[in-house]
Every structure is written in C-alpha cells, then in structure tokens.
Symmetry: D2
C-alpha cells in the first residue's frame, strides 16, 4: 500500500539557481513516510511517547528533474522491507502538473530505545509496518 | 557585555532572488543568543535538563542590506532587559568584510516549566542574565 | 480579502523542546503572502521575471501558543497597507483543530529593481495589491 | 587534497528526538564541498556567473552516531572522481570533541548550462577539480 502526500515548493525552499534546494526533498520524503505510518496506526509521536525512536540511518536519493518555486509535488511512499529492528522505505517524487518523476529515494530507519540502543520493534509496530508493506 | 558569533551565508540559505532568505537571520540571532548565554553559564541544554524552557514569544527584525552567498556575517548580541519571567535580547548583524550593519533584531523569551506554564527563572539563571546585561 | 493556506508541522520543523521552531512561522507567513498575491494576479515568479523584487524589510511576530509535530495550522493573510514602494501584510496563524490563534505577525516588503534600488511598483501590481487590500 | 570546514549543531537544527535532524547533514556536506571548490579556484558564485551550474543529482549518506545540540562537527571533503560532465565528492563527518566519525556521504553533481542541458565542464574548472582530486 502507498501513502501519498502533496506539497508545493515554498519560496524559502528555492536557492540561487532558482530551483528547489536538494536538501528539502529529504524532508518531503519524511512527510510521506510519517503520513504512511500514521495511516497504518504507527504515528511517530505515539512511538516516541512509548520510548521507541526511529532515527534515519541511511538515505539514497537521485534527482532527475529540477523543480521550481510553487510547483506542486506528490510524494509516493512504499515500504520496501521490514526487519525486526529496521525498516526501509522507498519514495517516488512526481511533479503534479505533468506526472513527471523528478526524484527517487530510499531511506532506512533503525529502531532504538531512549538511550540510543538498537532494539526490536514492538510487535504491534512490526505488524503495522508489515501490513503497510503488503 | 556582548556575545559575538560569526557564520557564512550557506548556499542552502540563498533563495531565488540570490539573497540570504530572511528566515535564516532568526536562526543566526539564536546562535548569538545561545552563545551569549553559554558564556555566562546558562546553556540551553543545561536549562532544559533542569526543566526550564525559554521559548521565544516575540521577534522583531529589520533587514537593511541584503546578503549574498558565502558572505561572512557577525552577530552581536546584547541583553536589553531581564525580568523575573522573561528576557529580551537585541542583535546587530554585520557583514564582516566591510562592517556594514545589515540587520537589527530583538527577541523576547519567556521562562516556562515542562508543562508550558510561565514560571520565575531560577535564581542562578537570573543572576547570570543580569551579569550578562551589565 | 483574505488569503488562506494550510500546512502541517513537519517533523523536521520541530526542535528539542518538542515544538515547532519559531523560525518556521516566518516561512508559513510567506506561504500565505505568496498565495494571496498569486490569487490577485501578482505572482512572485512573474514579478521577478519582470525585474520587480519584493524583499522583506521588516518582520514582527508574536508567538502565543506552541505547536507540536503534525498539528495542522491555517494562516490567514491580509494586506494592511499599500504604498507606491512598499506593502505591509498581516497574518494570523490558527491551530486548525480548535481554532486557537497561535501567532500573529506583520511583514513589510519594499519594491526593488534588479540592482537593489528602491522603485515604484508597476501600476498593475499596485492595483492588484489595492484590490486585495479592499 | 582535503577541504575541511567546522560548524556547530544549531538549536534550530535539532528535532524532537533531541538530535540534529538528518536533513542538515546534507547542507553541512555542501559547506564542505563549496569550501573545497573555492580553495581550488572554482567558486560556485563565479561558476554561476559564467552560466555553469552544478546541481546535485545524487546523494548517499549513512548516519552512524547521533549528534546533539551545540556539538562541534568537522566535515572532511574529498573528490572521488572527475569526469568531463560530472564530479563525485565524498564526505566524512566527525564529532570534533572526540574524533568519532558520525556520518559518511557521497554526492554527484552534473554540469549544466543555464537552460538545464548537460554540458562539458569548462577546461579551467576540470583542471581545478582534477588538481583538487590529486
């Protein structure tokens, strides 16, 4: 199953090349990921209240087509794989106007406790992620 | 007494007008303020560990001269006034190369506990701020 | 007339106090302002293509209630005053869930040419802004 | 040859996990890359004035150890490979206090003209990058 979010390139997200700066795509992917997780009953805020942290440990991103100010973008997020201690998401970023794919990314997150030690994900979170991946 | 910090306009801080976007100055002021407080023995991290929060409740900023990519800027921070529950800082931002003043700002912060209730600042913090203001 | 935009507090916009960092409100206000201008036929991109720049020269913002991750916010933007060379906007930021006003701001923008010299706004832009202000 | 830059985790760069948000590392790497290029006589600003754009087309980053507010970090940048139309940089990010490596990254940039068409890098830029890579 896919989570979808839409956003627009903010003026503050442009750089002097007149494009959306590449660092912001990482944040748009995060919007997609957190929306997907929320839809499947595993919201970040709730996880953190339970002492479960999911920091990003790896990002790969490929930029294909530049985006300019005010263009609408759609981020499609999928879960590529779920392990007991980590989860990998993949993202496709589309320019809404013409459905051109402008970027692709993957990120891996590792489950940690409040002291920063790797831990097994709680069973309900694992199940939610596996359901989302199916 | 004055706290001074220096930074350079990062490429990611430019916008499509080819200037440093105005939102980043707020963050540079924060760098100046936290440096000043640290120098006077009232570091943000330590305050927060003690359950003392200092959220910003008011910002005023005047932009006089635009900054471009890679220009060095110096932020001079002073404490304008200290009250038992709030503190007001003022900032002057200079372009290092020619000492031109490019912006001026003031911010007010209110002391709160972890539940977000206004509270009196701890005595040692009040003293540190008053010493810094002198 | 009022321009309205909605956004959600992004995870990347939180800080270690667990709140939306105060610098991001400036960017949300910009979203409201640029949307209002676009609705009235004066889009930033078009203005800049015509050599008309509208840098922000003054910001005042008052933070009343903190926002946390994932809360929806609505920004209402109005034009307070229009002059031949400058325009002042005012903003009210609401937490969508309960309509609590969380922040208020004003910003002033000055019309400049590509060399950074103050100039009179083009007639059509002045008219658009005055119509928007009415 | 290596370019080195230092920065400190800004308060605004923290997130509600109490760590430096992962998106900012991308910007620190950019600081390292632009400093390295400047040292070798190929400053971004000058390139762009000549109509030579170097947008980032690929980022890979691995986060090993979290960083907290106010920690000093050092970014070491090297050129991994230079081609006539693209260049790949690699980065090591260290926590200054104890020299722990906290992240590693690579980015690829492609040379484009002002219309966004891939083009060969100017000879002097190629030479500067090859010298920097040696």
């Amino acid at each position: 199953m896919t989570g979808q979010v839409e956003t627009r390139v903010r003026y503050a997200e442009t750089d002097q090349m007149g494009r959306a700066h590449h660092s912001h795509y990482i944040i748009w992917c995060e919007m997609g990921r957190t929306a997907l997780m929320r839809e499947h009953g595993a919201s970040y805020s709730e996880l953190e209240e339970r002492g479960v942290m999911l920091p990003v440990t790896r990002v790969e991103i490929e930029y294909r087509v530049p985006l300019v100010y005010d263009e609408a973008v759609r981020i499609e997020t999928r879960i590529r794989s779920v392990r007991s201690r980590s989860v990998t998401f993949e993202y496709e970023v589309y320019r809404s106007e013409d459905e051109v794919q402008v970027a692709r990314a993957t990120t891996t997150l590792v489950c940690m406790d409040e002291e920063g030690k790797t831990r097994r994900m709680p069973e309900d979170v694992l199940e939610a992620l596996r359901a989302a991946a199916a």
